[in-house]
């Protein structure tokens, strides 16, 4: 036991271990959420969903899909800006994977507890916007370009309410560190969603838009733009986009759970068991939020582009600003 602790005290060994863990977690989570999406959407439409792959319930469907993507030819269009085209999916996935750094899975169970944790998370999540724009620009395809432009407009518009919604929580917690925010909620004795319900709602709507999922999927609207910025992608580069979407769904849900729902803590659970029960509690909350995202996707139709911008600039941003003002006043008053 001591040998292992000593081994992991070495910086490089612990870094390697963490990298390996994230590298395993991302595809696993992508598969679990992707499979949940397939099955739940099927049930919501009175269908069976995947059934035959893997023998029972079609549990191996996404493994089969992954293998299929690896078998496919990696097509790069002749007119494409090749280095940009090739690196865009990597950038999108990196922006997603880097978010795992600041998610606290339990007390002390965090890859790195940065002092500016939530700030880092919001900053690094806009990295994937650049990846999306790169993909749209470099594909040499009008649909890709339109999708990329729409994505840029949408992601920039919703970045603002996303950040502003978080500010209320940060004011309440008095810290930007993700662990600090959870500890502040433990100290307060209630998850911040009880007070910050407006912030939570804005955060979830903006997160849905950031994920470019239905009802905010204009950048990849398949009935208008073929597949938007991923039109020209095939094989494992397409798989990267696919994986990034589901991994992003997980990280966004995890951040929302940490900021508003108490993260790895549940009211009534003694703090002594949190280091074991914490990851389970967090996972439960994450999957609850992911279910809500899937549920929304299969219920609502797509927004129109101007409705989307109106919602962001005329509704969410003023609401978030009012939320900040009220939170700040109450924080000073009490």
């Amino acid at each position: 036991m001591e040998f292992i602790t000593d081994l992991f005290a070495n910086f490089w060994v612990s870094l390697g271990g963490k990298l390996l863990l994230v590298a395993l977690m991302v595809p696993l989570i992508g598969m679990v959420l992707g499979f949940a999406e397939m099955k739940l959407s099927a049930k919501m439409q009175s269908r069976v969903g995947p059934y035959f792959a893997g023998g029972r319930w079609g549990w191996a469907q996404l493994i089969a899909d992954g293998v299929k993507f690896f078998q496919k030819e990696d097509i790069i269009p002749d007119d494409a800006d090749k280095p940009v085209f090739k690196s865009a999916p990597i950038l999108v996935l990196v922006g997603t994977v880097a978010l795992f750094v600041v998610i606290p899975f339990g007390p002390g169970l965090i890859f790195n507890d940065l002092d500016v944790g939530i700030f880092y998370a919001l900053a690094i999540s806009s990295l994937s916007t650049i990846g999306v724009l790169m993909a749209g620009w470099s594909s040499a395809n009008k649909y890709s370009l339109m999708g990329g432009l729409r994505a840029a407009g949408q992601l920039i518009a919703y970045e603002l309410p996303l950040v502003l919604a978080v500010v209320g929580t940060v004011i309440m917690a008095g810290t930007m560190s993700m662990e600090g925010i959870v500890e502040a909620q433990i100290g307060a004795g209630y998850p911040f969603v009880i007070v910050q319900f407006v912030g939570f709602g804005i955060f979830m709507i903006a997160a849905l838009a950031e994920l470019t999922r239905i009802p905010f999927d204009m950048p990849i609207a398949e009935s208008e733009l073929v597949m938007g910025y991923v039109t020209e992608y095939s094989g494992f580069r397409f798989l990267f986009f696919f994986l990034a979407e589901f991994a992003n769904m997980f990280t966004m849900s995890a951040i929302a759970a940490t900021l508003f729902l108490g993260g790895y803590w549940l009211p009534g659970v003694p703090e002594s068991v949190l280091s074991y029960a914490g990851p389970v509690i967090l996972m439960g909350k994450v999957f609850l939020l992911a279910f809500v995202m899937i549920w929304f996707r299969w219920t609502f139709p797509r927004f129109r582009e101007d409705q989307l911008q109106t919602l962001a600039w005329k509704v969410l941003v003023p609401l978030a600003l009012a939320n900040i003002a009220v939170t700040a006043i109450l924080k000073v008053a009490f």
Partner: protein, 165 residues
């Protein structure tokens, strides 16, 4: 105002939509037998309606190689070849009869769009719709059914409906 508009809560429609998907989901999970709209196809099969347009069967004996079907086909997916055979006169001094023999009758189901014009147009009732639908192939070329294969579909032709009075 004469028309009374039903008062609704703002956003109530969205909640209604969410309720529809959620209740459908629970119904499908809890009572799949009652609420599933689909069947597990290769294991369970639905019976198509008698007049379903599955595949076209050919009665070789009835065909006179008139080529009407091939000429009417919008996709040009019917290929017909034939030759003429002289039949000896039935009585001495009688006229020699000429009869068309069918050599080739292929329908390319990779091209066919199941419009049924060939069935409609056939003056000798040599073509029939049958509700069979399981003839997918691994290769595109195998979708070309020759006349023997088309003849094999004949037993699956449903009984024609009774005449109206």
């Amino acid at each position: 105002m004469t028309t009374t508009q039903k008062r609704t809560i703002p956003g109530g429609g969205m909640l209604k939509g969410l309720w529809v998907t959620l209740s459908t989901m629970f119904k499908t999970i809890l009572l799949p037998k009652k609420h599933l709209a689909t069947v597990n196809y290769p294991k369970v099969k639905e019976t198509p309606v008698p007049r379903a347009r599955g595949v076209i069967a050919l009665d070789q004996e009835a065909c006179t190689v008139c080529m009407l079907c091939a000429r009417q086909c919008p996709d040009w997916c019917i290929y017909i070849e034939g030759h003429k055979e002289e039949q000896p006169a039935t009585k001495p001094g009688g006229r020699i009869k000429v009869r068309s023999e069918l050599d080739r009758f292929d329908i390319d189901y990779a091209l066919c769009m199941y419009c049924g014009i060939c069935v409609e147009v056939c003056p000798f009732d040599a073509l029939f719709w049958t509700p069979e639908y399981e003839y997918s192939e691994g290769r595109m070329g195998d979708m070309l059914h020759d006349m023997d294969r088309l003849q094999d579909w004949m037993p699956t032709v449903p009984e024609p409906p009774a005449l109206e009075k």
